[in-house]
């Protein structure tokens, strides 16, 4: 009995914490590398002096005005999308769910495109807010539609409502873009998912929302695991599935809405990262949430760096790089992991 006292459940906490710390270290190194590397290489000392003792030199402007916001945008968007994806997959008990299911990307694109088309493309940083509001509105409508009716909330109904709203908004957006060349040129890069040319002001606008989302998501982990057992089991365990599902969707709107406002619809991060994390550390969402946050940030930063350095273009959209990596990986997942679900 004495070895039982330590408990088969106490298990691997220390190992996971160590792995998380290593990943975080790797993330810091990648972030530093992303700021340092480029057409002109910036040594770490110069980066630090640009941040803490800004002297207005050309290098300092390059660091604080271009590279740092780009890396911060990648970091915020990556971690937000990955955590939002993890939450969506738990809430819908569907391993293939992602924040896009709520119509977040199409809502953001629709809002940005329709306002630009009506008032011209010179709206500056306002588009960040537009994207955020559009994303939140679309997700709110999807959630409301998904929980209307006698049966109340059901993951299937949510997915259906999401598909309908996404198709509708995407169609309208496409029509507007077909007839409005100016708007198309202005949003082309953004709709591919890109962190090119982000300004510090844009980053600062979105940071509070994503940070609140991430910090709130951490103590959520335990509740997400219970929620992922399905509505009946969650209720039988004393959880209110309606309340927690609602709170979870609100978090997803904060996180994914913030991410799409900052970096456009970067696909695959919300789908792949939580999946990858669960494959490595299991389904306990107390761990899935922090691991997803760090891994998502790492993926987007590295992918953006690869796009810049390997493809040699400052404006190569990170969304495309990730899709190039993500699509084959997704096929692999679909072939190997999903066979067991049937």
């Amino acid at each position: 009995m004495s070895d039982l006292k330590a408990g088969p459940l106490a298990g691997t906490g220390a190992g996971r914490l160590l792995a998380l710390a290593c990943l975080a270290l790797l993330l810091s190194a990648a972030a530093l590398g992303a700021v340092a590397l480029g057409a002109a290489t910036m040594p770490p000392a110069k980066i630090l002096s640009a941040i803490f003792a800004f002297d207005g030199s050309r290098d300092h402007i390059l660091i604080t005005g271009i590279r740092l916001p780009r890396v911060l945008a990648a970091l915020l968007a990556g971690s937000a999308l990955a955590v939002a994806g993890a939450i969506m997959q738990a809430v819908s008990s569907n391993p293939l769910a992602s924040p896009d299911l709520l119509g977040i990307n199409s809502g953001a694109a629709f809002a940005v495109v329709s306002v630009m088309s009506a008032y011209g493309t010179g709206i500056g940083d306002l588009y960040v807010w537009l994207a955020f509001v559009g994303a939140a509105a679309a997700a709110g409508i999807v959630y409301a539609l998904g929980s209307l009716g006698a049966g109340g909330h059901s993951p299937l109904r949510l997915v259906l409502a999401g598909a309908i709203i996404t198709t509708f908004l995407t169609s309208v957006t496409t029509v507007v873009l077909i007839f409005d060349q100016g708007t198309l040129d202005a949003v082309r890069l953004w709709t591919a998912g890109s962190v090119t040319g982000r300004s510090m002001a844009q980053v600062k606008t979105v940071t509070p929302y994503i940070l609140v989302g991430l910090i709130t998501a951490l103590p959520f982990g335990r509740h997400l695991t219970t929620l992922s057992l399905g509505a009946d089991a969650s209720r039988a365990l004393g959880q209110s599935p309606v309340l927690w599902r609602g709170l979870s969707i609100a978090l997803v709107i904060l996180l994914a809405g913030g991410a799409v406002a900052l970096a456009g619809p970067i696909g695959f991060v919300g789908l792949l990262v939580p999946h990858l994390v669960r494959m490595c550390i299991g389904v306990d969402y107390r761990w899935v949430v922090p691991f997803s946050a760090v891994t998502g940030a790492l993926l987007v930063i590295v992918a953006d760096m690869v796009g810049r350095l390997v493809f040699g273009s400052q404006s190569f959209p990170v969304g495309v790089t990730i899709a190039l990596i993500g699509a084959p990986f997704f096929l692999y997942l679909a072939r190997t992991r999903l066979r067991g679900d049937a």
Binding site: L4, P8, T226, R235
Partner: protein
């Protein structure tokens, strides 16, 4: 309020109607579940067994009437309080891919934890004990989707035991299990009732298994109680024909002395 109930009733339904939409499944049900006994709900498909069990578990709300636990209306209990009093095993539960047995058992402590409370020694002890009782200690780090049906069912039961409620509600716990695991499960329930003073209610399909292991049988037909009582008093060819539309003879099992039904 509970004057007309037997004093030993742990759980009872009082004038309960249950409906799905406008379709009435159960009408005017007055069912008493004896305390510290193993009660089996029997009946043909569609007789309302699972519906009644889900209503006892507060997963369904009765359209009229009330469910009484120790004589008090459960509608006044919060979801959390319910989960501390009842361990519920649902039919064919599906866990997310990759969940380990110990992860699942931990979930049984959900109703005992407050929003920000940490995992306590008490939580750990409840989980350890539940896993010892169900023989799942060796499976702790295995993923549920790699287990056999019997092992998986035991893991889910360990989760309900970790809740430490004194009433267990089990919906078809033996379905999909082979004979050995069915008997193992029946023995586990019998032991929990005899040694731990639990009240167990299970929806079962095998009349003879129910007669052998349960102390109280409730036979249901079209949402109504046809007969309820000790197996020896309840199982007769007439009642079995009335409920299941099957002619049979009832013998006394030469080994256990419990009634045994043989369809003709």
């Amino acid at each position: 309020m509970a004057n007309d109930m037997q004093p030993s009733a742990k759980l009872a339904s009082k004038d309960v109607d249950i409906a799905y939409g406008h379709r009435l499944i159960v009408e005017n049900l007055n069912l008493a579940i004896p305390a510290r006994r193993f009660t089996a709900l029997l009946g043909p498909n569609g007789s309302g067994k699972s519906t009644i069990l889900r209503t006892f578990a507060a997963l369904l709300k009765p359209s009229t009437g009330s469910i009484l636990l120790d004589g008090r209306d459960v509608a006044r209990l919060s979801t959390r309080e319910m989960a501390r009093k009842f361990g519920v095993l649902l039919q064919g539960p599906v866990a997310p891919e990759g969940l380990t047995v110990s992860d699942l058992v931990r979930q049984g402590r959900y109703p005992h934890q407050s929003l920000f409370s940490r995992w306590s020694a008490e939580d750990q002890q409840a989980c350890d004990e539940a896993m010892v009782l169900t023989g799942t200690v060796d499976l702790a780090n295995r993923m549920l989707d790699t287990l056999s049906g019997g092992q998986r069912q035991r893991a889910w039961i360990a989760m309900t035991l970790a809740q430490q409620g004194d009433t267990l509600l089990l919906d078809e716990p033996t379905t999909y299990l082979d004979l050995e695991h069915q008997i193992e499960l029946m023995k586990l329930i019998t032991m929990l009732v005899a040694k731990r003073g639990k009240t167990a209610v299970a929806v079962l399909h095998d009349i003879n298994q129910a007669a052998r292991y349960a102390q109280h049988l409730v036979l249901l037909k079209a949402g109504k109680i046809s007969a309820a009582g000790a197996p020896l008093d309840v199982l007769s060819p007439d009642i079995i024909e009335d409920v299941f539309k099957v002619k049979s003879v009832v013998f006394q099992d030469p080994v256990t002395g419990t009634p045994m039904c043989i369809p003709l």
